[in-house]
C-alpha cells in the first residue's frame, strides 16, 4: 500500500538554511547537507530545497549544496525557487534534483510547464501555488505570496496539470504560519479537479493537524512543513508513528 508522504522544506539562502534550528547531534544547524541527512535518517519521505537567493553567487552556492546533498542523501529531492527557464531545470537536475518546482516562473510563462514536461517528463514537474482567499475567491499569488495575480486558483492549477505538471504543492497563504491546521477546504477543491498527487502545505502546527489532513482528505498524498520540523515542535518519527497508530499508511 502506498504511504502518505511527510516532506520537510528547507529554505536556503546563500548556501545556508534560513530558519534557525537546534537538534541534538547536529553539528552545523544551518548546513543544508547536514540537515538533509538528519531528516532522511529521521524518516522524511522526501525533501524540498527552496532557493531564496537572488544573487548569482548565491545561486552558485545553491548548486554546490545540491550536489553535496545528492551525494549523501538517497531520498527524492525537489528543488524550487527561481525556476524560470528550461536552463534552470537543467541546472538543478544536473546537480541531483529529482523534481523541480515552478511557481512564479510558470505564472509569467505557463508554457514553461509544458516544455519542461515534454523534455523531462511530467513526474519531474511540480506546480507550486500560493493561494489566498480574496473576497471569497481563491486567488493565485506570485513572488512568494506578495503579489495578487488576479488569477482564479482552482482553474490555474487544473490548467497546470493539463499542461503537464505531475504534482501539485498547494500552499494556503490563509493558513500559513497560523499553525491551526492545513486548509482543508482549499485542498478539497483542488483534489476535485486534478488527478495527480497533491501535497498540502501551510498551517501544520502539530501532529494532529497531519492526522486530520489525511483522515479528512484521503486524496491528499503528502504533507509539507518547514518550521515545525526545524524547531523540533514535531518530530518526524513521532509523526509517522502517530499516523500508523491512526491507520494512515506511513513508512516507518
Amino acid at each position: 500500500m502506498i504511504t502518505k508522504r511527510i516532506i520537510p522544506c528547507l529554505d536556503v539562502k546563500n548556501g545556508r538554511v534560513v530558519k534557525g534550528v537546534n537538534f541534538e547531534g547536529l553539528s552545523d544547524v544551518s548546513s543544508p547537507v547536514e540537515l538533509a541527512k538528519y531528516y532522511s535518517a529521521c524518516g522524511a519521505d522526501e525533501l524540498v530545497f527552496y532557493d531564496i537567493t537572488a544573487s548569482a553567487e548565491g545561486r552558485r552556492l545553491f548548486s554546490d549544496i545540491l550536489t553535496e546533498t545528492a551525494k549523501e542523501v538517497f531520498i527524492p529531492l525537489t528543488v524550487g525557487g527561481g525556476i524560470n527557464t528550461l536552463d534552470d531545470f537543467d541546472r538543478v537536475l544536473k546537480c541531483g534534483a529529482d523534481k523541480v518546482s515552478v511557481n512564479s516562473g510558470a505564472i509569467k510563462n505557463p508554457q514553461l510547464i509544458e516544455d519542461a514536461a515534454k523534455r523531462y517528463g511530467s513526474q519531474c514537474v511540480v506546480l507550486s501555488a500560493d493561494v489566498k482567499r480574496v473576497d471569497g475567491v481563491f486567488r493565485v499569488f506570485a513572488k512568494g505570496g506578495r503579489e495578487n495575480t488576479g488569477m482564479e486558483a482552482i482553474e490555474w492549477i487544473r490548467s497546470g496539470v493539463q499542461r503537464g505538471a505531475g504534482e501539485i504543492v498547494l500552499n494556503s497563504i490563509d493558513t500559513d504560519g497560523v499553525k491551526g491546521g492545513f486548509d482543508l477546504e482549499m485542498l478539497a477543491r483542488v483534489c476535485e479537479v486534478v488527478d495527480v498527487p497533491v501535497i498540502a502545505s501551510g498551517g501544520a502546527g502539530c501532529i494532529d493537524d497531519f492526522i486530520t489532513l489525511f483522515q479528512t482528505l484521503p486524496q491528499v498524498d503528502a504533507g509539507l512543513a518547514a518550521s515545525i520540523f526545524h524547531f523540533g515542535e514535531v518530530k518526524i518519527r513521532d509523526l509517522k508513528q502517530a499516523m500508523a497508530a491512526h491507520g494512515i499508511p506511513a513508512r516507518l
Binding site: I2, T3, A70, F74, Q123, D221, R251
Partner: protein, 206 residues
Amino acid sequence: MVAIIDYGVGNLFSLRCSLEKLGADVVVTGDRKIIANADRVILPGVGAFRDARQKLRDTGLDTLVCDLAAKGKPILGICLGMQLLFEKSYEFGEYDGLGLLKGSVRPLRGVIPADYKIPQIGWNALRFRKESDLFRYIKNGDYVYFVHSFYAADCDDSLIADCEYGADVTAVVQKGNVYGCQFHQEKSGDVGLAILRAFCFEEAAV
C-alpha cells in the same frame, strides 16, 4: 567494476553517487569495451520506452546487453531500464524490448481502480513472491520509492516481488543473472542502497 550504461537517457548522477557511497568501483559509460569488461552492468532509464529503445539500438548497446546476459554477466535494469528487458511494451504504441525476460509492459490505467493516481508516485511496500539474492539485506514489507505509469505484466516467470497499488504491481524481477527493479533504488533510502549492495557485491565481500 560496475558499469552504468550511459545511452543518453535520464540523469545518472544520483545512481552513480549511491554506488560510490557503497564503495563500489563504478563507471558511467557508453563504451562497449568498458561495459563488456565490467563485472556487473546496470541499465538505467527514465522517460519514454520508444526513445530509450531507439537509443539503445542506435548505439548497438542492445545487442551488447543481450550478449552479456547470455554469457551470464549480472545485469540490473532500473525503472525504464527494467521495462526494456521485456519482450514488448505497449507504451503509446507497440514496441519490441530486449526480450531477455518473458512478459510485456502495459499501462497502469485500466488495470487499477480509477481513484488510484497515475503515475504511482511514492513509497510502497515490497511483497516478496520468491527468494532472491537481491533481498539478502532487506526484509519483506520494506518500503521503496516508485515513480511510474507503466508496469510489467505477464511476467510470472521472473516476478520475485510486487507491491499493492489497487492491483498487484510488478516491483522486482529476476531470471538467473538478469535482474530488474521498477522503483528507484538510488532514491529508496537505506533499503534501496541495500538492494544495490546485494547486486554489486558477493556476499563474502561485505
